[in-house]
Symmetry: D2
């Protein structure tokens, strides 16, 4: 049968990214404790396409992904998958993006009751032929924020709400990326209060008072997270988005920031 | 050309609903003030299909919808559209569901500054040949809820959050349906505090203290809304869903209830 | 500390459902092969609340859910969870709804290459005190549909598209529920062609020609699935929704149907 | 009352963007014909915050937005809104992003029946103090794609599906931005076939055969759109994403590309 994709193309346009999107697959992610957590990934996997070829071979992305779905997955494994993509698809560059939900253990602050909290995360690896992979970690950390202005101007109470901080970061070559568990904790320390799926009455009292004692604007949480991230050794770049699902409005308060570190 | 849809079917199955979904069109909705508000509707429009016919004629739904897109739309107009569907599609029953966002004016509680708040709403009409239309109104009202338990057990503060109440209701034949504006106000009165898009500092103080003075569980808001709805004259049926986007959890508190009224 | 939820309520309204929603947890689902598949569940868990009590105890839902997250989960286990809810929350009725994505193995039609396909599914159990659990299975099966009218009236080609059939079903007491794997296969047999994540060129030819040889309206797929479901022994009730993401429109073709079986 | 936001901040971090998100408001957009189309906008509106200040004044974003909601909106008006933001919020830079759905008229190819098609669009303006606004237009155009490989290797038929091309573009200062209507037409010309909400049988035959006569990979549509965009006079930058909702897979084919033009 004719290989239409392989036929010559004369438009003179090298395509930067072509591949598959919304591929759903289970993967096993290495945890901080050293074991594995099964996750459900939503994948975008692309390569560059030279101007000479009419099309890429979409089935090869699936052929690369399928066997890895059964094996442990971390930075090193992503590097191998990208190598395979460069070779099997005869490409100059490749990119693999995996969105997944990751669970971390939480102990309630007073009762010490155990529960697990879901975090939306992503791994992204991109690689040019003959160069090392560039790895980006993305983690969304939910928490409570309590408004300093509302507390200051009111005789009692203060509006508070669920918020989220979306962190994305990249390390310099040779440095180990922070664990999701540690990044979540780093962000939670900047919030008015962390979230816990399971809270008994004594815990609810604790989180209510703790948030009231730690009022923070969306700007405060962003700035304190910037300061905390600057202390991570080997960090090359990060971006932050903080968003408060305001309890007093139908819209959100929002702040974002991005830094490259020399 | 052959009319495949019109050909005979021998499987003996009359289909309850067949038609189009995710049709996007602008419509003009009559407001309480007597003028019109342009909305952007997401439409599902279906009819029943007798067992004798292989298929319905999908293009006719669009033919009915298109001219109405320019005209004012309320219960009476929906009734005409359903009549047209029964006739043009030769059907025993027809149903038209329109999701849209509707804006209501809000005055900030102290500064009286004006702003507009968006509510997710739907109109649904269903009709059997020779019978009057059954009309259902759906409105989602967002507001602030403040937790009575958190307030009671804490030395200061109380967790609060954005919440929503989804009301759906139907009237008996011969009764006028409540205006969206009035239904929103009815629900907001049961909340810890209504939402306002635009709040100055004096307003923020007001809503913070007002919510603290009116602590309500998701159960309280549901029950108080049930009591308020029971007072609407001519109401035949309603259902309620209340949901709190908990500021101290990553999950929501939820309550639902449904009543037919004799 | 005061138990506010436990205090008396005098509004006289028994709430039909109250509990938690959007709880995310991993679970292990028993597969047809007899082993387990880890899934990521989105959970709604509710109980009824008698009119005497002001509120339910939200933390208890999490206390019931957490330990089960590590254990295999099927109908029998859901029954135990609902029993625990009835007891620990002192309720007359309880309901547990779990949405999750489930993977089934697929062999490409010609090359026999293996890949896995994701299906959106749900388990729902509801129980009244002293009565057996009522279990509902929901499965969304995606497939290809090819339009018989387009094929008939055109000199060549026929529009086709991705479609989905959402099946929900309940069995009579004493009958075993069908496996997700078998229900998916039952629906796929009614489609113009099943979907496969991984297709080589010889497979692509097969699915193209197979779909062209099996043109089906959304009405046809619905009716043929109705006929197939009526043959399942012990089935008490089912509902179907078929939806074609039309390649020639920006809206969808849709059909739905529901039957109780004596 | 104390102005907490205005108090001094000593962390030394100037925030790049802070403001409001998910603000929903109606706006009136100028059409190609010269009249106005009412749209429903989802807005993100941010400014930079100097390191000296603890917080921005969130209510001012709403104060700027509210009056504009009643007036016609195009590039010139966005420029004024950004000016107001720079002044009222005392900022160095400001950005306004508005997502909205825009309707364009479509005439069926044979029957000439009229209908309207919805396009997801955005306007984004960003401005630094004392500099002209940089305006970005975004438009998502849906269409039909038909696979050249499937057509080539199969005895009859060819898989086809709904697809979308997301175009974003910026002009050099002094050049007029292309109308949404014209950009949609430019993209549709590169597709296997445009979409029409309302098609009679003679039209369905036309679009079926037209798509079959114009097979295109996702790569082809991307490349042909690149070539067409390069001909727009005054264009400074564009990015493209093409995505096919494959009728034979549960995942999508995807290509993206970005170019700055000297």
């Amino acid at each position: 049968m004719k290989d239409v994709q392989n036929s010559a193309d004369e438009r003179g346009i090298a395509i930067q990214q072509v591949g598959v999107k919304e591929v759903h697959l289970p993967f096993r992610i290495r945890t901080k404790r050293g074991d594995y957590q099964q996750v459900f990934a939503n994948i975008r996997f692309t390569v560059s396409l030279p101007q000479e070829f009419k099309g890429t071979h979409m089935s090869r992305f699936l052929e690369i992904l399928m066997p890895w779905s059964e094996k442990p997955m971390a930075e090193a494994e992503m590097e191998v998958m990208l190598q395979e993509a460069l070779e099997h698809l005869n490409a100059e560059s490749a990119r693999l993006h995996m969105d997944f939900t990751y669970f971390i253990g939480k102990e309630a602050p007073v009762s010490k009751r155990y529960s697990v909290l879901d975090l939306d995360c992503f791994f992204e690896g991109s690689m040019r032929k003959g160069e090392p992979m560039e790895f980006t970690l993305g983690v969304e950390v939910p928490f409570t924020s309590l408004c300093p202005c509302s507390k200051e101007i009111s005789s009692y109470g203060a509006h508070n709400q669920r918020s989220v901080c979306r962190v994305r970061l990249r390390y310099r070559q040779g440095y180990e990326c922070i664990y999701i568990e540690d990044l979540a904790e780093l962000v939670e320390r900047q919030a008015s209060c962390p979230l816990y799926p399971l809270l008994k009455r004594e815990d609810e009292r604790y989180v209510t008072e703790h948030a009231y004692e730690h009022p923070k604007f969306v700007e405060d949480i962003l700035r304190d997270t910037v300061l905390a991230l600057r202390h991570l050794e080997g960090l090359a770049w990060f971006s932050l988005e903080c968003e408060n699902f305001e309890s007093i409005h139908h819209h959100n308060a929002y702040a974002s920031h991005e830094e490259s570190i020399d």
